[in-house]
């Protein structure tokens, strides 16, 4: 790692002030993406501003009919939360499927969402459920927030504070993991709220997490696994890498969407 100065502010205001005062600061949450990146010298921040000691960024509450999860809440906490498990079991299951046990003890929802790794699980849940991202400056819909690979609508110095999830009638997530990295080669999140069906795909899109319009349209008309037959995903919009070609992913997305629909309300992790 290149040398940096570590800071641990106790308030959001101090975190923002430290960011403004620093030459080239990064915010640190669980550190399970950022620290490996620093070790590989992929980034050289002058200051690392740890958000872990800011109380308002942490914790899970159910308020005004929605599930509000603080940015520094760890994957293991979301996975084990009775509040999440009761309202959106697919989201608890998704959190419990990330990485491995020790990674889930450190990684956070805010860190995952702000990093927007194209193979991360949370972006699929956040976009699929139509969540709202609350920051130190404003609120954004998930559709506006996720921009491209590792790119979000966050401005320099802007901090994700909470993610607010509307509670769906039913939701489900199915993913196929790389056996080596444990990241999703593709993951499909399906959620129905009233008559609206949202589908979000992670791990596969050339521009990161996305909503396949054709699948959403088909499932809105007929919310059954059979409705996916005849749908197609254009490989030109997908990633090709050492894990899978774009054509393979195009088929895998349909398979995972069908599996998610066959076991609604669950989470399935294949490898």
């Amino acid at each position: 790692m290149y040398p940096f100065t570590y800071r641990r502010p106790a308030t959001l205001a101090d975190a923002q002030r430290l960011f403004g005062d620093a030459e080239n600061a990064s915010f640190l949450s669980g550190g399970h993406t950022l620290l490996p990146a620093l070790k590989m010298r992929l980034a050289m921040p002058s200051d690392l501003i740890d958000l872990a000691a800011i109380p308002e960024l942490h914790g899970i509450r159910f308020e005004d009919g929605a599930l509000s999860i603080g940015a520094t809440t760890r994957h293991a906490e979301v996975a084990a939360s009775p509040v999440v498990g009761e309202r959106i079991p697919a989201l608890a299951g998704l959190a419990g499927s990330i990485g491995d046990r020790h990674v889930r003890h450190r990684g956070t929802i805010g860190g995952s969402v702000a990093n927007n790794d194209p193979a991360a699980d949370y972006p699929a849940g956040v976009l699929g459920l139509g969540a709202t991202i609350v920051t130190s400056r404003r609120q954004m819909t998930a559709d506006d927030f996720f921009v491209s690979l590792y790119e979000t609508a966050l401005e320099p110095g802007e901090i994700v504070t909470r993610i607010v999830f509307p509670v769906p009638a039913i939701a489900s997530y199915a993913k196929f993991r790389s056996a080596a990295s444990r990241y999703s080669v593709a993951g499909v999140f399906v959620a129905r709220t009233g008559s609206t069906v949202r589908v979000a795909v992670t791990g596969a899109g050339a521009q990161g997490v996305f909503r396949p319009a054709e699948l959403e349209a088909a499932l809105t008309v007929d919310f059954r696994p059979e409705a996916i037959k005849g749908c197609a995903i254009d490989p030109a919009t997908l990633l090709s890498d050492q894990n899978a070609s774009a054509e393979y992913r195009a088929n895998l997305i349909l398979v995972l969407a069908r599996r998610a629909m066959e076991k609604l309300g669950t989470i399935q992790s294949f490898k």
Binding site: L35, L38, D50, G99, H102
Partner: protein, 164 residues
């Protein structure tokens, strides 16, 4: 440089360290606790697992400064003198190790799993929850067996409270 204070295996330590020092290297090089191994240094193999406030973490991916004010338990903190922790004993009795490099991380992961898992452990649960620990020798069979044997023993009433 920054001063960090933590309780490691029950002993309070205060040290001045580089801001970028990782917890694994703080334990190994600053404190000389070389039982915590660094295998991959990329958050995958689990050889560096220690308990941070009773929760298992990969210490190669935690800064020493992030552990400031915390309680840390390493493999050196499990045994009571010559009396091994039940998980250490079970690993020996069940041949849960060959070269031994992954063993400290395996045992720290297993003790935390046994201590915190609600309800009894099954082979399936152990295999899933131990996914973050890689062993290149054993094929895992005897590791899983050792964890189940130790979990059973630790569930028995009146066991000596070992480790944390």
């Amino acid at each position: 440089m920054v001063t960090v204070s933590m309780v490691v295996n029950g002993t309070k330590v205060d040290k001045e360290v580089e801001d970028s020092l990782l917890l694994a290297y703080f334990l190994r090089e600053t404190l000389g606790l070389t039982g915590t191994h660094v295998g991959c240094d990329t958050t995958q193999c689990g050889c560096c697992v220690v308990h941070l406030n009773g929760i298992s973490v990969k210490s190669c991916t935690v800064l020493a400064t992030q552990a400031d004010g915390a309680s840390v338990t390493t493999i050196e903190g499990l045994a009571h003198g010559a009396e091994l922790h039940p998980v250490q004993r079970a690993f020996r009795e069940c041949h849960g190790l060959q070269c031994g490099f992954c063993t400290p991380g395996m045992i720290m992961a297993a003790t935390e799993l046994i201590d915190t898992h609600p309800g009894p452990l099954t082979e399936e649960i152990v295999r899933e929850e131990m996914e973050g620990n890689l062993c290149r020798c054993t094929g895992y069979h005897n590791i899983v067996k050792a964890i189940l044997v130790a979990a059973e023993e630790m569930r028995l009433p009146g066991r000596a409270a070992a480790g944390d």
